[in-house]
Amino acid sequence: MNEDRSEVARRVAAMERLRPSRRGFMKVAAAGGAVAAFGGPDIKRALAAGENLPPNVPEWMKTLGPGVTASPYGAPSKYEKEVVRRNVGWLTASEESSINFTPIHMLEGIITPSGLCFERHHGGVPEIDPAQHRLVIHGMVARPLIFTMDDIVRFPSVSRIMFLECPANGGMEWRGAQMAGCQFTHGMVHCCEWTGVKLSTLLAEAGVAKGAKWLLAEGADAAAMTRSIPLDKALDDVIVAYAQNGERIRPEQGYPLRLMVPGWEGNVNVKWVRRIKLGDKPWHHREETSKYTDLMPDGTARQFTFVQEANSVVTFPCPERPLDGKGTYEIRGIAWSGRGKIKRVDVSLDGGDNWRSAQLQEPVLSKALVRFRLPWKWEGGPALVQSRALDETGYVQPTIEQLRKVRGVNSIYHKNAIHTWRVNPNGKIDNVQIA
C-alpha cells in the first residue's frame, strides 16, 4: 500500500470531478467548523486570567443562579457547546439524505446522550403526530392488525441497552486514512437504552402464517424507508421501541416508533415504522441492492450482510484530543460486537507488536458498547496506539491489511479494522494506517 497516498488523492480528485461544488463547500465548512471542532483554548484562557481561582472566591458564588423554572428541559453547560454532532458536507448532495457523527471522542461510559446520537436519514426527519401514527401488520398473517401508539404502549414492555452502528462507519477509510478526527472515523455509532414491545409479541397477535420467512419494515418518512428482515431475527430479539434513554424517542431517531434490531446494521433498524408485512422472500428493495451491499474485488456484491462484527476504537487520545505534555494518562475507548458480548480488548502502543489487555467496565452487555481503559505513562516519545476487540464467539478484530486482503477496497460497508493513532512527540495525534 505504498501508493496509498496517491490512491486517496486520486479518489478525492475523482470525487471532485463528479462534484464540482465540493471545494466551495469545504472552504465554508473549514471556516465555520475550525473553531467549534477543536475547543479548549477558551477555557484555558479563562483559567489563566485567574479571577475565579483560589485564593479568590469565584464569581458564581457571589450571585444567585437561575431557579427551577429557568430550564424545564435541561441543556448541557454552555462550556460544552463543542460537544455536538457534526457532518461531512462533501459526502452527500443533500442534507436531507445524509449523515452526521456522534462526538464519541468527548463521551464517557457507554450511554450516548439522545441528542448526540448520530443521524442518518434518507428523506429528512418527519414530524409525526403520535395520535395520527399507526402501525399496520399484514401480509402472511392470520389477522392483519392496526395499532395506535396507545395500544403499543399498553403491551408488556422490555428495555435493553444496545449499540446501533451504521455499516458505513469507517467506510471512508478503506483505501487510506482520510479523516483527521475520531468523530469522523468512528462516530456512526451510538448506544442507548431502548424500551418497547418485543416484535414477537405483536407478531403473535397477528398470527404468523405458515411459510412466512421474511418481513418488510417500512418507515413513515419521505423516503418510506424499507428493509427486508429474516423472520428468525424478528422473532428472536427485535424490539418495536417507543422510548430511548427513558424518554420518548427523539424525532431524528424515529419518533414515535422504530425497530431496534440488536447487533445488526443501522439501516434495518427502521425508524418511524408504520408497516410490517410478512412474506416468504426478501423484497430486494433499493436499500438492500443498490445500497448496503458489499462490493467485492471480483465485482460481485454480498447482500444481506446484517451483523456488525466486533469493532473498537481508542477515543482518548485521538486527533481532536491531543496529549498535553508527558505524564499520567488513561487510554480510553469503546468496543462492541453485533454477535454478543465483548470478551477482551487489547491495547498496543507500538503498532501491534506488543499488546496489553485493557480493563473492561462492568457490566459488559451483549450487543452494547463496552468502555475499556488502560493506565498510561507517556514518556514523550512517538507511539502507535491501537485497540483490538475480541468477542465471545472467539472473533478477533482484524487489521486493515487482513480485511483488505479478503474484501478489497470497494465495499464501503462493514470496515471494522483495528485503528491506529500516531502519537507525535509534541503530543499531536494523527490518523494513520500501518503495515
Binding site: 399496520v136 403473535a204 483490538r388
Partner: protein
C-alpha cells in the same frame, strides 16, 4: 303493564339480541381468536391496507399496480420531474446521484454503481421511484407515470429499447445486466486474525497512509 305481557316482550328482545350477536360472531370471534391481548389494536380493514401497501417485490414484481407507460412518454415526465437532479440523460447534475452508466466499472478502482451497472431487479426501480422520488415530492406520481419514467430510465441505460411500453407483466421480465451479481447471504466471519500478545510483528510497523492530516477534508480541520 302486567307481568304476563312483560315476559314475552323481554324474551323477544333477548332473542333479537342473540340473533344479532350470532350474525356478528364469526368475524369478531375469528379476529379475537388466538390473540393474547385482543383488546389492543384491531383488525386492519382492506381499505386501510390498500392505501399503505405500496411495496413491489424486486425479483418477481409482486405488488406492481395495474397500469402502463412508454419510454417515449417517460422522457417528457422525466424531464419535468427528475432531470433537474439526475441530469437529462441520467448523468447526475452536480453532486446528485447519476443513474446511468458505470457498466464494466465494478471491478475497477472507481466503481460506479448505477441502475444500469448495479441494480439486479427492474421492479425495484418502480418500487423506489414510487416511494421515494421525486426527492422533494415522493409518492406523487401515478402508476402510469411511474411505469413511463421507469421505462425511460431503463431505456437510457440501454436495457429496454426507446420504443418500450412497460406494465405489471412486462416489467418483471426485464433482465437487468447485473442480475447475477449478488451473493445472497453472509459468508462472514471471513477474515481470521490471531490474538497474539507479545512480539507479534516480524518487522517494524511502517506507516502506509497519513494523508488525513493534509487532505483537508475533515470538517473543522483545514489542511496543513
Amino acid at each position: 303493564m302486567s307481568r304476563s305481557l312483560e315476559r314475552p316482550a323481554l324474551a323477544f328482545v333477548a332473542l333479537a339480541l342473540a340473533a344479532l350477536a350470532l350474525l356478528a360472531a364469526p368475524a369478531a370471534a375469528q379476529q379475537k381468536q388466538g390473540r393474547k391481548f385482543p383488546e389492543l389494536g384491531r383488525a386492519a380493514t382492506a381499505a386501510e391496507i390498500k392505501g399503505w401497501d405500496i411495496d413491489v417485490r424486486g425479483d418477481d414484481g409482486k405488488g406492481l399496480p395495474k397500469g402502463k407507460g412508454s419510454a417515449k412518454d417517460g422522457e417528457e415526465l422525466y424531464a419535468q420531474h427528475c432531470a433537474a437532479c439526475h441530469g437529462v440523460f441520467g448523468e447526475g447534475e452536480g453532486r446528485w446521484p447519476e443513474i446511468i452508466g458505470g457498466k464494466g466499472t465494478l471491478t475497477s478502482a472507481d466503481p460506479r454503481k448505477t441502475v444500469g451497472s448495479y441494480w439486479p431487479y427492474a421492479p425495484t426501480l418502480f418500487d423506489y421511484v414510487r416511494r421515494a422520488m421525486p426527492f422533494t415530492m415522493p409518492n406523487s406520481l401515478t402508476a402510469d407515470e411511474t411505469y413511463a419514467i421507469v421505462a425511460y430510465v431503463l431505456s437510457i441505460n440501454d436495457i429496454v429499447p426507446d420504443t418500450a411500453v412497460l406494465d405489471e407483466t412486462s416489467l418483471p421480465k426485464v433482465r437487468m445486466p447485473n442480475r447475477d451479481g449478488f451473493l445472497v447471504g453472509d459468508p462472514r466471519p471471513d477474515v481470521k486474525a490471531e490474538p497474539c500478545m507479545t512480539k507479534c510483528r516480524s518487522e517494524a510497523p511502517r506507516v502506509t497512509s497519513d494523508l488525513a492530516q493534509r487532505l483537508g477534508v475533515t470538517p473543522g480541520r483545514p489542511s496543513e
